[in-house]
């Protein structure tokens, strides 16, 4: 049997193969967007340059990059844990919104107090609100068989409308002393402290990375994680093996929503300090690409959240410099998602071909 060293290194080894696929996805996305930029009359390389400069150009820029990375990491993890259970939670944007609402409310309604207690209370409130917004579709799916994709989209819109109402002119959370449709500012004791001077990056990024490790442990080192993955792989087999599938669906979507809630809470407590409608610029939808590009693995997601943080923060600079709409990033995102979607079946095809070649027999 002839051995093919290239096969062993790049395709035989699953984690390296995953990595190769992820790099290729980004690469292809950049090439396709290169042509879109050309066709729409921009010169691609300076635009890409501006994108990078916007993320790494200065200490402040890099800080902004990490500021975007933080909610992307939380919500990417949220998408991933649901995906591992065979659930498609595209409702993270709504879960972020309710998390932000809850955190902002606890943040300004109580007087100044011990910062540790206040921040913890706000984060817990965001966590619980997000969990509730994940529990609802989980329950609807387990009890009534309603596909989670439809229920979470409805819940997204409901959350957006609730947030808009709360800070509207007659809204109960509206700051009466300000003309802006926003809530009062949270107390100083509820703010998440900044990491360094001269940039908005805050301790939330550390919390997000710690959360990634917790989710990794939960998914791959606990019995609960094993059961969640078993349900995702084959729920009928899991049911036969005595796993309560419905309970795990509800639990997983609640955890997933809670992670979205964390993203929203940390965004309010660390960046905006007050609630306004649509405070999340679509982090919940980016989460899908973040999780898929990170091969739905917490450690991979840390890397891909950082990449999308670069794209998010860089795109603002890109738009300011060259007038390229910052939604160019969502085209990159879409192509990455498309590529990751087709990489699984193509990956199987490539592996089959190599196996046939190196074993000299047809499988």
């Amino acid at each position: 049997m002839k051995k093919n060293p290239l096969f062993d290194i790049f395709i035989g080894n699953d984690s390296v193969f995953s990595f190769v696929k992820a790099i290729l996805a980004v690469f292809f996305a950049l090439i396709i967007v290169y042509f879109i930029l050309l066709l729409t009359g921009y010169s691609p390389f300076p635009v890409y340059g501006a994108l990078l400069k916007g993320a790494f150009g200065s200490r402040r820029c890099f800080g902004e990059c990490l500021v975007s990375t933080t909610p992307l990491l939380f919500s990417g993890l949220g998408f991933a844990i649901a995906y591992r259970c065979g659930l498609f939670n595209i409702g993270l944007e709504g879960q972020i919104t309710v998390g932000g609402i809850a955190a902002a409310f606890i943040g300004y309604i109580f007087p100044e107090m011990n910062p540790v207690i206040h921040v913890s209370a706000c984060i817990a409130a965001g966590f619980l609100a997000g969990a509730l917004w994940g529990f609802i579709p989980g329950y609807l799916k387990a009890r009534f068989g309603i596909h989670e994709v439809i229920s979470v989209i409805m819940l997204n819109h409901i959350a957006f409308k609730i947030a808009a109402y709360l800070v509207s002119m007659q809204g109960p959370m509206k700051d009466r002393l300000d003309d802006m449709p926003a809530s009062p500012f949270i107390r100083d004791s509820a703010k998440i402290v900044r990491l360094v001077n001269g940039s908005r990056v805050h301790w939330g990024i550390i919390l997000a990375v710690i959360t990634a490790f917790i989710i990794w442990v939960l998914l791959f080192r606990t019995r609960l994680g094993f059961r969640i993955r078993a349900v995702g792989k084959n729920k009928y087999a899991a049911e036969t093996a005595g796993i309560n599938v419905k309970r795990h669906i509800i639990l997983t979507l609640s955890i997933s929503g809670a992670l979205g809630g964390l993203a929203g809470a940390v965004e309010i407590l660390g960046v905006h300090y007050r609630l306004f409608a649509a405070f999340s610029p679509g982090y919940g939808f980016d989460a899908i690409a973040v999780a898929l590009l990170g091969m739905v693995h917490p450690i991979g997601i840390i890397a891909s959240a950082f990449l999308f943080g670069i794209l998010r923060s860089g795109s603002v600079f890109m738009q300011a410099m060259y007038g390229v709409n910052k939604d160019m990033v969502s085209v990159i995102t879409a192509i990455i998602v498309l590529f990751m979607g087709m990489s699984a079946p193509i990956g199987i095809m490539i592996k089959d071909r190599f196996k046939r070649k190196s074993h000299g027999t047809s499988v």
């Binding site: 439809i150 989209i153 409805m154 409308k161 007659q170 939604d327 990033v329 969502s330 995102t333 498309l338």
Partner: protein, 311 residues
């Protein structure tokens, strides 16, 4: 009392029909695609692309060519989804999500290129005007609702029995449904599974494109990337609610359309409920309707969502 009279006026029913039209078209698209075994949550994105292309077409060529282009744009998106999910066997939910993400981004990039100085919202363009049907409009009650409407409203209403007939009474419909129920058996009987799914998913895109074009050049006269506002998903919910049949889906769409028209009517009549809460009403109703009426008996096509690989 006067308030009630306002809320249940003929005008509300007429606008129910208008609001339900894009939902009906989306849900028909959903029926086509899912009956062939391909989940299509990309309806929302296909509508958006249809809406955008229709505005561009209307700007350069006039509303009717714009409509055609909008339909074709939806069809192209359907073709892309078919290629991803049928030929490559990719996860259908991921593939259609990518379409949704792209459909939000691409128009926003192209708007400032096509119309310098515009961001996020296109300028207003020519629209397809409402028509008056003399015979119907003279009937007392129905005339107020059906007599004076947009041509696409009538098209959507006619398409419901057409698609229903196509799916349940023709050979090709039988084939489409068979590949959605048991692709391997269909394949064994000599039906080309891939071809059937391509036809169904592309048609689904065409229908969604028409729905989008209606939104941008009939219902409104410009494009913005938030204009679909979940209508593709509500259409999908309506399809499930109608148990994957065009007629049932249409009834559900009319219900959701009524909810929307009702809240709009309530807003203008000055009902003392905050407008944001009223706006959430159709979404809440969708959820409640799914829970209340269909929980027990929803049966999706057996092979829905499963890629078929010849082997």
């Amino acid at each position: 009392m006067e308030l009630l009279f306002k809320l249940f006026s003929m005008a509300v029913f007429a606008s129910t029909l208008r609001i339900a039209t894009p939902l009906i078209l989306a849900s028909l698209g959903g029926c086509m695609s899912e009956r062939s075994g391909v989940i299509n949550i990309g309806l929302e994105g296909m509508m958006l692309m249809g809406a955008f292309t229709a505005v561009v077409g209307s700007f350069y060529l006039g509303p009717w060519p714009g409509l055609i282009l909008g339909i074709l744009a939806g069809g192209m998106m359907g073709l892309l989804h078919a290629f991803m999910s049928v030929t490559l066997g990719a996860n259908q939910v991921i593939s259609s999500t990518a379409i949704n993400i792209m459909a939000v981004g691409l128009p926003n990039i192209l708007i400032p290129v096509i119309w310098p100085g515009h961001y996020g919202i296109s300028p207003t363009v020519g629209v397809i005007k409402d028509i008056n049907i003399p015979f119907i409009s003279s009937i007392p009650v129905i005339g107020k609702v059906l007599g004076h409407q947009n041509p696409i409203v009538y098209v959507a209403l006619i398409l419901v029995p057409v698609i229903s007939y196509l799916l349940f009474k023709t050979r090709i419909g039988l084939r489409i449904r068979s590949v959605g129920e048991h692709p391997r058996a269909a394949d064994t009987l000599g039906i080309n599974v891939y071809k059937m799914r391509y036809i169904a998913v592309t048609m689904s895109g065409l229908l969604a494109g028409l729905g989008g074009a209606f939104l941008s050049i009939c219902y409104q006269s410009q494009f913005s990337s938030v204009m679909t506002a979940g209508r593709g998903f509500i259409g999908l919910a309506a399809m499930i609610f109608g148990r994957w049949t065009p007629k049932g889906a249409m009834l559900a769409c009319l219900l959701f359309g009524f909810a929307d028209a009702f809240q709009a009517g309530a807003q203008s009549a000055g009902v003392p409920i905050p407008p944001e809460i009223l706006l959430a009403f159709p979404y809440v109703l969708t959820l409640v309707a799914l829970v209340g009426l269909l929980g027990k008996t929803a049966v999706s096509p057996a092979a829905n969502g499963k890629p078929y690989l010849k082997g």
